[in-house]
C-alpha cells in the first residue's frame, strides 16, 4: 500500500506534465490552424474548434507533445530537451513548455528530411488541408441550405425594402473594420456582381433575378457572414 502511494506521488506530476503538454499543444495547434486558414479563407466561416479534422490534427500533435514530454527532464542534455523544455525541471512548467513548443519541433528541420516535402511539416500541412476541405464542404452545405431557405423571402421583399440595397449596405458596414486589402478584394467582387444586374424588369419568377439574388446572398455570407441578415423579417 505504501509503495503504491509513493509510486502515485512520483507519477502524478509526470503524468500531469504529459497531460498539460498534450492540452497546450492541442490549443496551440487549433490557434495556429485558425490563423493560417484565415490567411486563405479571409474569414474562417465556422468555429474551427468544432471541426472533427481540426480536433484530430490538434490531438495528434498533442500526442506528439505528450510523448516528447517523456524524453525531457529539464536538464537540457539532449537537443529535444533543450528546444522543448526550456530547462524547466518542474514537471508542470515543463509540460506547459513542451505543449507550447511542440509545433516548433514538428515543423522544424529536425523532423524533416533534408528539406524534402516529407516529414513533420508535410504531415502538418496535410492536416491543415484536411481541415480546410472539411470547412469548405460544410460551408458549401450551409450556404446552399441558407439560400434555399431564404431566397423566396428575399425575392418577395422586392422592392420595399430593397434586398439588394440592404445586403450591399450590410456587407460594407461589416467589412469596414477589416484590413484594407480585404475591403478592396470584397469591393471589387461587389462591383463585378452589380455590373451583372439583370437588365430586365424585376420578376421574382425570373431565373436571372434569382441567380443575381443568390449571388448577392452568397457573397454576403462568404465575406460578412450571416450577421448581414440578422433581424431580417422572414429570414431564418
Amino acid at each position: 500500500m505504501m509503495s503504491q502511494l509513493s509510486m502515485s506521488a512520483v507519477d502524478i506530476p509526470i503524468l500531469s506534465g504529459a497531460a498539460l503538454a498534450l492540452l497546450f499543444a492541442a490549443f496551440t495547434v487549433l490557434y495556429d490552424c485558425h490563423v493560417s486558414i484565415q490567411d486563405i479563407l479571409k474569414r474562417v466561416p465556422l468555429p474551427i474548434y468544432r471541426e472533427r479534422p481540426a480536433i484530430a490534427v490538434a490531438l495528434a500533435c498533442g500526442l506528439v507533445a505528450a510523448v516528447a514530454f517523456f524524453f525531457t527532464n529539464g536538464r537540457g542534455d539532449s537537443l529535444v530537451d533543450s528546444v522543448l523544455s526550456l530547462k524547466q525541471t518542474n514537471p508542470y512548467l515543463r509540460g506547459l513548455s513542451v505543449g507550447l513548443m511542440v509545433l516548433v519541433l514538428i515543423r522544424s528541420k529536425l523532423s524533416n528530411f533534408e528539406g524534402a516535402a516529407i516529414g513533420g511539416e508535410w504531415a502538418y500541412n496535410k492536416g491543415r488541408e484536411w481541415v480546410v476541405e472539411s470547412l469548405n464542404t460544410k460551408w458549401w452545405a450551409f450556404k446552399t441550405a441558407y439560400c434555399n431557405r431564404n431566397l423566396p423571402s428575399a425575392l418577395a421583399s422586392f422592392p420595399d425594402p430593397a434586398f439588394e440595397t440592404q445586403v450591399l449596405a450590410g456587407i460594407q458596414a461589416i467589412i469596414q473594420v477589416k484590413p484594407q486589402l480585404y475591403q478592396v478584394f470584397v469591393q471589387s467582387q461587389i462591383t463585378n456582381v452589380v455590373k451583372s444586374r439583370p437588365s430586365i424588369p424585376f420578376d421574382p419568377a425570373s431565373v436571372q433575378w434569382e441567380i443575381y439574388y443568390r449571388t448577392l446572398m452568397n457573397l454576403a455570407l462568404d465575406y460578412a457572414g450571416d450577421a448581414v441578415f440578422s433581424g431580417w423579417k422572414n429570414f431564418s
Partner: protein, 100 residues
C-alpha cells in the same frame, strides 16, 4: 482579372457555382471559363456537376465524336445558368498556399 485572382477568390469562398464565380470576376464568361480550364489542367481546381465534362481536354474524353462536342465553347447563357456546376479549390492548390 488574372488566373491567380480566380484561385484567390476560390480559396477565400470555398466551392462556388460556375455562374456565381463568373459574376464575381471582372472577366466575361468566356474568358473566365478559359481561365478555369487552365487552372483545371494545372490541377488547381476541381469541377463537379453537369458541365464538368465540358472542361475536360479533348483527349481524355472517351468517344471522339462526343469529345468534339464536349470541347466546343460554352455559350454565355449556358455559363450564366450553371448553378449546379461547382468549382472548388483542389487539395494541390491548398497545399501550395500552406507551403508558401
Amino acid at each position: 482579372m488574372s488566373s491567380f485572382s480566380v484561385v484567390d477568390l476560390l480559396q477565400s469562398s470555398g466551392p462556388i457555382a460556375l455562374n456565381e464565380l463568373v459574376m464575381r470576376l471582372s472577366e466575361g464568361p468566356q474568358e473566365a471559363v478559359a481561365a478555369i480550364k487552365i487552372l483545371q489542367s494545372e490541377g488547381m481546381v476541381s469541377i463537379s456537376g453537369p458541365l464538368a465534362k465540358k472542361f475536360l481536354p479533348l483527349k481524355s474524353v472517351q468517344e471522339p465524336t462526343a469529345g468534339a462536342a464536349a470541347s466546343e465553347a460554352f455559350t454565355d447563357d449556358e455559363i450564366m445558368r450553371a448553378s449546379d456546376t461547382v468549382i472548388a479549390p483542389s487539395r494541390a492548390s491548398l497545399g501550395r498556399m500552406f507551403s508558401r
